[in-house]
Amino acid sequence: MIQPVSDLPLWAAIVVAVFLILGSALTLIGAIGFLRLPTFYERLHAPTLGTSWGVGGIMLASMIYFSVASSRPALHEILIGLFVTVTTPITFMLLARAALHRDRAENNGNVPEKHQHDLKDVEVVQGNPDEK
């Protein structure tokens, strides 16, 4: 590994170090929760620690480091942060819907049925609940 710029001022080094360790520690906590939580729908929540403050902390550290080291604003890391912040809810909602669809198709009792009361009403009115 090449030595980092050694003439970085002390406050910048401390701020960069704090953000780096904050981000990576939150990523690790999210991964541990991802390993230990019992069901899929609970496990879905844990990795978002890594994608919110994990990405945010490390991107902030990188932005501060390159801005101070090259003595001009280097803000291109904000692209990764914005992209991850926008895309993570999309992927996790798609995966949760896919898992819900699979659990309902297998009918294994892990998830509630779809619109229980609506089906009863339909049955009363039409007498044919399988159509809906």
């Binding site: 590994m1 090449i2 030595q3 980092p4 710029v5 050694s6 970085l8 001022p9 002390l10 910048a12 080094a13 401390i14 960069v16 170090a17 704090v18 780096l20 360790i21 981000g23 990576s24 520690a25 990523t27 690790l28 999210g30 991964a31 541990i32 991802f34 390993l35 899929f40 496990r43 879905l44 990795p47 890594g50 994608t51 994990g54 990405v55 490390i58 991107m59 550290a61 990188s62 480091y65 390159f66 080291a69 280097a74 291109h76 890391e77 692209l79 990764i80 992209f83 991850v84 895309t87 999309i90 992927t91 996790f92 798609l94 995966l95 819907r97 896919a98 898992a99 669809h101 699979r102």
Partner: protein, 93 residues
């Protein structure tokens, strides 16, 4: 002094992210169902992206940023395609 602080922090951050990647790959190999494996893959590539950014801070070169951006975009597309496959049974309909 500041170099020592930076190097120590970068080493600790890389160690923590490497442990997180190991845990994500454990869940990816052990996960009871397909959706657990996909979430494990998602966590794994996000952590690999963070690891590349810490490498970029350590070496002081901005070329790692481009690799991290490409990993983020292609990983998103891969996860969406896999979720779509789980939902419908085919990716493009």
């Amino acid at each position: 002094m500041s170099a020592v602080i930076l190097l120590t922090a970068i080493s600790i951050a890389q160690l923590l992210i490497a442990i997180a990647m190991a845990i994500a790959s454990v869940r990816m190999f052990r996960g009871p169902r397909a959706q657990d494996r996909i979430i494990g893959l998602d966590t794994l590539y996000i952590n690999a992206m963070l690891m590349l950014v810490t490498f970029g801070i350590g070496t002081g070169s901005t070329i790692y940023f481009d690799a991290a951006l490409v990993i983020g975009m292609l990983g998103f597309v891969a996860t969406v395609a896999l979720a779509k496959f789980l939902m419908r049974g085919e990716v493009i309909e």
